[in-house]
Amino acid sequence: MKTFDIIVVGGGHAGLEAAHIGAQFGLNIALITMPGIGIGSAPCNPSVGGVGKGQVVRELDALGGVMGILADKAGIQFRTLNESKGFAVQSSRVQIDKELYSIEAEALTASVENITVIREKVLNISKTDSGEFQITTTDGLYLGKKTIMTVGTFLGGKLHTGQTQTQGGRFECESSPSLDTLFSQIKTRPARFKTGTPPRIHKDSIDYSKLVEQPSDEQTRNFHCLHDSHKRFIPQVSCWLAHTNGTMMGIIRDNKEKSPMYNGQIQGVGARYCPSIEDKAFRYPDKNIHHVFIEPEGLNLDTMYPSGISSSLPKEVQEDFVRSVEGLENAKILVYGYAVEYDVVDTTALNQTLEHQEIPGLYFAGQVNGTSGYEEAAGQGLIAGTNAALSLIGASPLILSRHESYIGVMIEDLISNTRDEPYRLFTARSENRLFIREDNSILRMYPYRAQFGLNTQLDFYLGHYIGEYEILMEICDNQMISEDSELLKNLSGESDHQKLIKRISVTDLLRQGWLNPITTLEIILNFYEMNFNSDVIKSVAISKKYDGYIKRSDAQFDKVKKLETMKLNWEELAVSKNISFECKQRITRIKPETFGQLKLIEGIRPATLAVVAARAL
């Protein structure tokens, strides 16, 4: 029997991150994936990033993840979303060549010596007396000290197109056995989740002259910090914008009884933020015009992905409604849309490291946890993989605070609440949006990465970056610009009606509302012939600009923080009459010393916190 330190079950975006980060610790990793599917495949939108998600990809990148590397290499159209909305909410999104993405993922994984890829279907997982996991596949038997489940939509997966139902986790893929067959100790949530995809259209059957072109943006920075910031690895192509219309929505409304989602065939709960075209037709009966982004799936692939019209209607209805869209009159459908229903685990049974509370050593990450999106999956994969590794080498766990990262926001949201629909990150989920930005992801993640104690090229770069950042922050505070400085003439291009009335520091100058902080800092550094990394310049300029607002918002949270550091006597709580039995059990186990720690304990009820907090007031 082959033995591994960590066995990762599932070769999707979560599994990839878990395997690669584990390997960076020098551990022996197995990545077990369904035969016949390339690893890191993108069955839904062929894109990586987006509002809130771009931040996750950059957080991952600074922690040593691989998603950014792969997205850059397979990127065929780059965009900065919310460009006009302010720095904090700007996010990068990359359309990927999904074929190439998977090829790059395969190559990158193959290049890592201590990752063994096993292409077999898992039949059973059991825990041995010594606390290890024995995994039975169609062809073999493996032993892992830790196991990470990143099985996506494959648990008890069922596909729907019209009345046709097939078992499977994805188009032309078989599903894996349900979780209770795999692992009888673990309960899935009684409710199943549902997601769907649109029909894929042949790229030569589209009349592009009727669509709005969205070319790739040269200014969008690559995700991976070690890549040349704006270098493109492959040729760039455009996305196209089309619109739905009354005819199309009418066709869908006329076929209500044929829709598995509306005739009762599908029981699973879909995400409200990811509605199928049927949802749009029936929930918003007065609205007929919706955006449809037509996205290329790859340079060498014939398929285009029409984002916004996922559907599980019968094939002939899909054909009808697609062809009613302007520009798609002659569209040829290559793959029909379908909905997939699958089992999800109850994430409130996981702790902050994504380890199952009742089965130490077993971790869950990705869509199986009820999240949607490759980025969310990858973020969890990295957390689970890192923590499995840290636990094996006896180091303290990696727990990202929700005040410092979107990954932290996501994990806390997942483990503290039972969701009734798939979870997706939005910037709205963060209370600290001005600070959790793309531009300062290295600053935010470096302290965590440094704790891993690894010595890679990435670590060297990050350390250097932080050094430059700190120096430039200090320069900004100390360097004064006098009101008659030559330098100001260079800035007047920005705005000619404002003048300085006295000498101020660069920091204060960057806060002037009439200046763009980034170009201002660039001009100043040019003037003094100082040379800094352009990413550092950008991040410092934005930090200075937001500083006052962040401090203000921090002050609001001070009350909360004060409460968090409040000392408490857990022995007293453990016998309190006002606290539920389960909470007391958990308190006795974790022995929290502060309110903050108490709050972090999984499953502590709000009522318990209220009782304790009330005592403090």
Binding site: N45, V51, G52, L81, N82, S84, K85, G86, F87, A88, V89, A271, R272, Y273, C274, P275, K280, R283, Y284, K287, H290, H291, F293, S307, G308, S310, F426, T427, A428, R429, S430, E431, R433, L434, G513, Y546, Y549, I550, R552, S553, Q556, S576, K577, N578, V611, A614, R615
Partner: protein, 458 residues
């Protein structure tokens, strides 16, 4: 509040302990079940049904203490959500104390702290904070209006207003989030429109609430009618005359001090406190000068101020001090003394120029007539102040005023700042203000609001 976390069985006499009465109601709350009372009553309580009245004897060992009626309220269907027993006993104060002692002497029950029954209701979510405040207002109301507002708070009416405010805030916050997280879905124009429209709605609702915050409304909770004047200006005489006409039935104002005399009088359903201040004049007497200072401070928060003037005696310096305040009414006394009209005219000429700008209601009637006129003026003022349904509670008033200021500066920012992340951060600050009034708004609720109003998604 020490009792925040206590689960003791508590007892109190809910009908007050100030005088003997026919009945007194004793309330006991927080016991596990009725076996708690075994031995105290001649009747076996085990089979009794909640919310029904039973007649029984109260026993202290072998001794029969009283015949009484009791009612059992089983939690959570009781006032505060706990098991509660109410005893209607005879209301002799000595007896009430004896009964309380019976239940507390072995540490079985603890005397409840003031407000503790209600606090438990709050803890058990039978009431919200506004309702508790309403109850307090209701129980201590000095006017029909305050009674009304107390009841309205208790019924959750004001809370409903706040809920509307909450909805509007939620709408606006979701509009902001929409334009960040879902711009691709809805487009810039829709997002902008929704943002502006929702902000307008929110601001309108805040200013409607702010209109109900009057600076004088504190004086409406405990309205004082204050008589001011130099010594010998006829204050005491007017004070006594008014009392003889309208003394309130309930009067429990503690002691008389050198500072001022106070008694309750009732006009048209409002209990006013009539205050006769110490005569104001420059004095070297330490105690008296303190009295003067306190008189003036009563004046500051008074609902209705009457300045009494004896035109035959003047003390320019002291009088100037009095004219620093506005008066609702100026009354010239000693109108029955010969030469009054002449003196009065002189006085008005000399001093009321100083008091220019004041809305002078000058009266010089005989005491017999002043009563009705005064009543008229006071009622008129009370009605005009309460006509806009002003909010009486300080906590609410100050939060609403804070909110009004915050929303104004937020509107400015929204107008002038192009960085929506900054606007969003400031909106959170505004949200802290709102959440103190109405409860915390979670990101999930914001997203729910977006999804219920917009078609979002790929």
């Amino acid at each position: 509040m020490k009792f925040l976390d206590s689960d003791d069985v508590i007892i109190a006499c809910s009908t007050g302990m100030t005088s003997n009465a026919a009945l007194a109601v004793i309330r006991i709350s927080g016991f596990k079940d009725l076996s708690f009372f075994s031995g105290f009553f001649s009747k076996n309580l085990a089979p009794i049904e909640p919310r029904k009245v039973y007649y029984t004897n109260l026993l202290d060992g072998e001794t029969h203490l009283d015949d009484l009626c009791l009612t059992y309220f089983k939690g959570p269907h009781s006032y505060n959500g706990e098991n509660t027993l109410e005893l209607s006993i005879h209301g002799n104060l000595l007896h009430v104390e004896r009964v309380l002692n019976l239940f507390t002497r072995n540490g079985l029950c603890r005397l409840a702290s003031p407000g503790e029954f209600t606090y438990r209701g709050l803890r058990n979510k039978k009431l919200n904070l506004s309702q508790v405040e309403g109850l307090d207002l209701f129980l201590n109301a000095e006017s029909v209006f305050a009674l009304g507002q107390g009841l309205s708070l208790l019924n959750g009416d004001l809370q409903e207003n706040y809920h509307k405010l909450y909805e509007l805030f939620l709408r606006h916050k979701s509009a902001l989030e929409l334009s960040i997280d879902f711009l691709d879905d809805v487009g810039e124009e829709t997002a902008q429109g929704y943002f502006k429209e929702s902000l307008l709605g929110l601001a309108k609702s805040v200013s409607a609430l702010a209109k109900r915050v009057l600076p004088q409304s504190q004086s409406l909770i405990e309205p004082d009618i204050v008589l001011v004047g130099l010594p010998n200006s006829g204050k005491s005489s007017l004070f006594n005359f008014l009392l003889s006409q309208d003394r309130a039935i309930v009067s429990s104002i503690a002691g008389t001090t050198r500072d001022y005399l106070a008694e309750k009088i009732q006009f048209d359903g409002v209990n006013y406190r009539l205050i006769d201040t110490a005569g104001v004049r420059e004095t070297k007497d330490q105690i008296e000068s303190q009295g003067v200072a306190r008189s003036l401070s009563r004046l500051k928060n008074a609902f209705f101020r009457i300045l009494l003037i004896n035109p035959f005696e003047t003390d320019d310096e002291a009088f100037a001090e009095l004219l620093k305040f506005d008066y609702d009414l100026i009354y010239f006394s000693h109108s029955d003394v010969a030469g009054f009209e002449e003196k009065k005219t002189l006085f008005v000429d000399r001093f009321c120029r100083v008091a220019s700008g004041q809305n002078l209601n000058i009266l010089s009637l005989d005491e017999k007539f002043i009563h009705n006129i005064l009543k008229l003026h006071i009622n008129k003022k009370y009605l005009s102040l309460t006509s806009g349904n002003p909010i009486l509670l300080d906590r609410h008033k100050s939060l609403i005023l804070q909110l009004e200021t915050a929303i104004r500066s937020y509107q400015d920012l929204a107008e002038n700042e192009s960085d929506i992340a900054i606007i969003g951060s400031e909106l959170n600050t505004l949200g802290h203000c709102i959440s103190e009034l109405i409860g915390i708004i979670s990101p999930d609720q914001v997203l729910d609001s977006i999804f219920s109003n917009f078609c979002i998604g790929k």
